[in-house]
């Protein structure tokens, strides 16, 4: 009963790994760096790799060594915020590599190696930005939209193999990454606790939901944005893009 969580060293990934462990799963966490020293009671197997460097044909033997997996949560992501043209092209490439190419290559390799038995689940962590728009993070938002679309197609493809695919659209969370990329006057307390998102995610996963937006407030925002996307584009520009005082990547 192994669970793989990417981006597991901090933020939502850490919360997901901790909760999976509390559910008596063996957790394999993957991240590009880990905090020094062991956490108390932490039995997470730590794999270290930078997903930006994952190349086609990489056998990912470190990941496959712990197969089969009952759940694979592809959560690792990086962002780049600021006026699009001020962010170097190499950064936009890296955002796509980590947020989209790496999940694609990992899923492909896991399927090839029969590392996902019938009944297993793949969870793709997308973003609420797919629904609301996210000017000032155009490449990040594009990668998350692509991931969400991939989830829709893969769900239909893999259901015949007994593998469930769920896509999650979390809004802003109280994480170090969100803090780094938020406008200067953004209120951290209005963001969701990553542990609440993790709890919500497993609840929905147990019920085999196809996709969901964690948090009532975010669900309302998502539904409203669907009704009036143009209005939301203007709102997002005003409350995020216009307030970004620097590029962060």
């Amino acid at each position: 009963m192994n669970v793989l969580v990417t981006g597991a060293a901090s933020g939502l990934g850490e919360a997901l790994a901790r909760r999976a462990q509390a559910r008596s799963r063996h957790v394999i966490g993957l991240d590009r760096a880990w905090p020094e020293g062991d956490q108390p009671n932490d039995k997470i197997i730590r794999l270290t790799r930078d997903l930006a460097d994952l190349k086609p044909g990489d056998p990912i033997t470190d990941i496959l060594e712990h197969a089969p997996y009952v759940t694979v949560i592809l959560n690792a992501a990086i962002s780049a915020t600021g006026p699009f043209e001020t962010i170097p092209e190499a950064v936009h490439r890296r955002v796509t590599d980590v947020n989209l190419t790496a999940p694609v290559l990992i899923i492909k390799r896991l399927l090839e190696a029969n590392a996902l038995p019938p009944g297993a689940s793949i969870v793709l962590v997308s973003s609420l930005s797919v629904r609301t728009g996210y000017p000032g993070a155009a490449s990040y938002a594009a990668s998350k939209a692509a991931l969400a679309s991939l989830g829709t197609s893969m769900r239909r493809l893999l259901k015949w193999e007994g593998i469930h695919v769920m896509t999650v659209f979390p809004g802003p969370m109280r994480t170090a990454q969100a803090e780094r990329h938020a406008p200067p006057d953004a209120k951290a307390e209005s963001r969701m606790d990553p542990d609440a998102v993790a709890r919500n995610l497993y609840f929905q996963l147990d019920r085999r939901f196809a996709e969901f937006v964690p948090g009532t407030q975010n669900q309302l925002v998502s539904a409203s944005a669907k009704l009036a996307p143009g209005l939301f584009d203007r709102i997002m520009r005003k409350i995020i893009y216009d307030k970004l005082d620097r590029s962060v990547y």
Partner: protein, 247 residues
Amino acid sequence: MARTVQGSKIIVTGATDGIGKAAAIALKERGAQVLAIGRRSPKRSGLPRTLAYCEADLSEASFLETIMAKLESLGWNELDHLVHNAATGYVGHFKEEPADHMTTQITVNLTAPMVLTNGLAGHLERASGSVLFVGSTASWRGTPHYALYTATKSGLTDFARNLRTEWKGRIHVQEVIPGPTRTSFHRKSGLLNPPLASLYMTADEVAQGIIKSLETGRVKKRYPASALIFHAIKRSVLGQQKSGESA
């Protein structure tokens, strides 16, 4: 922001085949200055010699430098329109697609348009120009055997949406979203006999849609299934050629 394409400086990617080729040629016929981008050698591009051509493989890391050098040699310091048409696809089970083709697909369909737009933002802004993305009606639908292609096109649509909001009043961001089109794309993707292919729009019809969008400034032009039927009837009534691929 209606304006004619005559005399405009326009880049078209994926211009040696299908929609891109049809658009490049039609734009040239309308009096535009066109720089066609393709990965074939100039001799094998199949384009008229009157078109400026730049051989650049969008899946290679160096493509932006190649295109920038070409612009410099042409003396283009500004750009009226950038048409992102190049795309590649794969039909089949996700796990059967070669891994290097997957990364090529993501790069050509999604990353390269972002990188090229990033590199040419200054050129576009100097001309108060526009950037136009060619999307796909397959986006968001959930296509089990076209999963990565539709994912990249969904990403591109989302990218266009956010960039439009960011660049409002500076650079116009447009999208043309065709349905299935009669080009060699399906064959190259591995789909040898696409269903209802006789109903598909031709590359020339989509190219005309692109030109119209550039001239009228229309933000988004989407071709629903009804458009396929409309154009099929139009072809039948006008007795236009039914045959296939434009390349």
